[in-house]
Amino acid sequence: MIATVSRKQRKRPSRLTPARVGTYVFLLSAAAFFLMPLYVMLVTSVKPMEEIRLGNIFALPIHGTLGPWISAWTSACTGLHCEGIRVGFWNSVRIVVPSTVLSIFIGALNGYALAFWRNRAAGWMFGILLLGAFVPYQIFIYPLVRTLASVSLFGSLPGIVLIHTIFGMPIMTLLFRNYYASIPLELFKAARIDGGGFMRIFVQLMLPMSVPIIIVAVIVQVTGIWNDFILGLVFAGRENLPMTVQLNNVINTTTGERLYNVNMAATVLTSLVPLFVYFVSGRWFVRGITAGAVKG
């Protein structure tokens, strides 16, 4: 929604007044502040340790090397295991893909039922569901650990996927409900008169029309689940720790000399997937973070 309204007959003032200069000075210094950590992260990750010890985090590398990236990927240690951050990467992929698919399917189904099959009980449930999106996870954690343990899902891949589906449900349902609410009711009524049932209208009429909102939902879920730390830490179990948890373990539990270049390379690697999604999706990303918040 943002920025689709932008720049209709907007013309830039052509003269450079002091106010214009001030505007650019402010924006450029802000941009420098926002880019500084990214720059430091990138240059540190390609410096040998000797250059890092010289103590200038802003200096460009004299002898650039990709060594830190390779060791971060293949041999960085968490505790006694030195198999690199790639373990966490593949764990995150295994968690993100099924969680995203499942939560989007359920969100779409909920949104469709809420928008077209008005139902009082469902409306109430939806209200509570939305409230749940704001509540800190801490209050749910212990009972959920116990419940999952009692059905032996605690610390397993299906367990963490289920947890992400549960906690992704509010925002997914909201996204799809709002999207379907903008589709003319007449379309739905026509399909009903033609004899379409609940599932048939959903699969054959609504889902094909949902591509834009599915893209938004994929962006929201992939970045959100990839960046999750606390749920993966608690529910994923030793064998499935996601990349963020492994990254924190690599950096905050190492003994001996800290290899800052390897650490920064690992941090960049962990951020690559969400940053890639962000840079490729552009305005869709903004739509994702504002859609749940602005409307609703």
């Binding site: 950590p37 099959w117 939806f126 801490q138 954690i141 609940f198 960046n227 963020t244 990254l247 840079f279």
Partner: protein, 300 residues
């Protein structure tokens, strides 16, 4: 008439389709909250106990130095973080709205930190603020031998470093929300203001800002919820240190749930967090539903 049995059958299908949502709400959300509240009223330590000890866990909680410090930290963090994000986010949105060049690039730059995980943010800032090798060392190397910027290892200032990192990450979100609001404002207002000879900054503060009220409220709520949830960034950046100087409630609860195995106290703390969030949300939800109802009436 003959439509009613068919209708009932379809309602049944609706309930089946909504079963995952019903189960989630009843068991994963409501059930777990009641369970946690119940534990907070018992004497549970490592294992849950079935007894009922009233509010004594809460009394103990508010006599625990570490919890009080966590609360103090999160309030300090919250006030500074929300204020800084709102001001910076609003300014960025206003300046970007001045028909500047490379608007898309600037917007991308201001928002990209929001795509990163709090863990990555924490680790980067931990590195930048590292006194031995980070900014302090770099400035000293340029000849300012007495330059000191060691806040991250200073018990009195460590919270400010977390504020800086969090503002860096989240103010782009505020910018995006405000910019969406600014683009929705009628161009006529600018013409009218120009005719009346009102300076631009006056228009922004006296006319535009009040019109952005709903966007500001939404941003405030999102930021406030992020404050209460603050956990990942602290773990990654300071692990609660130096000492316990940057402990926060969310981390307190996790430590007592798992490391220190005191689930009674942890549940009391998470109940306090829940009530805080509900108190923060109530006015916002109330005004939203009132606005929604007013809008619905206007549409009819």
């Amino acid at each position: 008439m003959n439509a009613s049995p068919r209708r009932r059958r379809h309602q049944w299908v609706v309930y089946v389709a909504l079963l995952p949502m019903f189960v989630t709400v009843l068991f994963a959300y409501l059930g777990t909250v009641l369970w946690s509240v119940r534990i907070s009223l018992s004497s549970s330590r490592t294992f849950p106990a079935d007894d009922f000890v009233g509010l004594s866990q809460y009394a103990r909680l508010f006599n625990t130095e570490r919890w009080l410090l966590s609360l103090h930290n999160v309030v300090l963090f919250g006030v500074l973080f929300i204020a800084a994000c709102l001001v910076l986010g609003f300014l960025l949105a206003v300046f970007i709205d001045q028909k500047v060049r490379a608007e898309d690039i600037l917007r991308t730059v201001f928002l990209y930190p929001f795509a990163m995980s709090f863990v990555a943010t924490g680790l980067v800032w931990q590195w930048v603020l590292n006194p031995q090798l980070g900014i302090q060392a770099t400035v000293r190397r340029f000849g300012f031998e007495d330059f000191a910027f060691n806040w991250i290892v200073d018990q009195d200032k460590v919270m400010y470093t977390i504020v800086v990192a969090a503002v860096w990450q989240a103010s782009g979100l505020v910018m995006a929300l405000m910019l969406a609001g600014l683009r929705g404002i009628d161009e006529e207002i600018w013409k009218a203001a120009r005719i009346d000879g009102i300076p631009r900054w006056r228009v922004y503060f006296s006319i535009v800002l009040p019109m952005l009220g709903p966007s500001v409220a939404t941003a405030f709520v999102l930021l406030a919820v992020a404050v209460v949830k603050l956990f990942d960034a602290v773990v990654a950046m300071t692990q609660g240190g130096p000492g316990i100087a940057s402990e926060v409630p969310a981390k307190f609860i996790m430590d007592y749930l798992f490391g220190r195995a005191n689930i009674g106290l942890a549940s009391a703390a998470s109940t306090v967090m829940l009530l805080t969030v509900l108190a923060l949300l109530a006015p916002w939800l109330h005004s939203r539903s009132r606005r929604a109802r007013a809008a619905g009436r206007a549409a009819q």
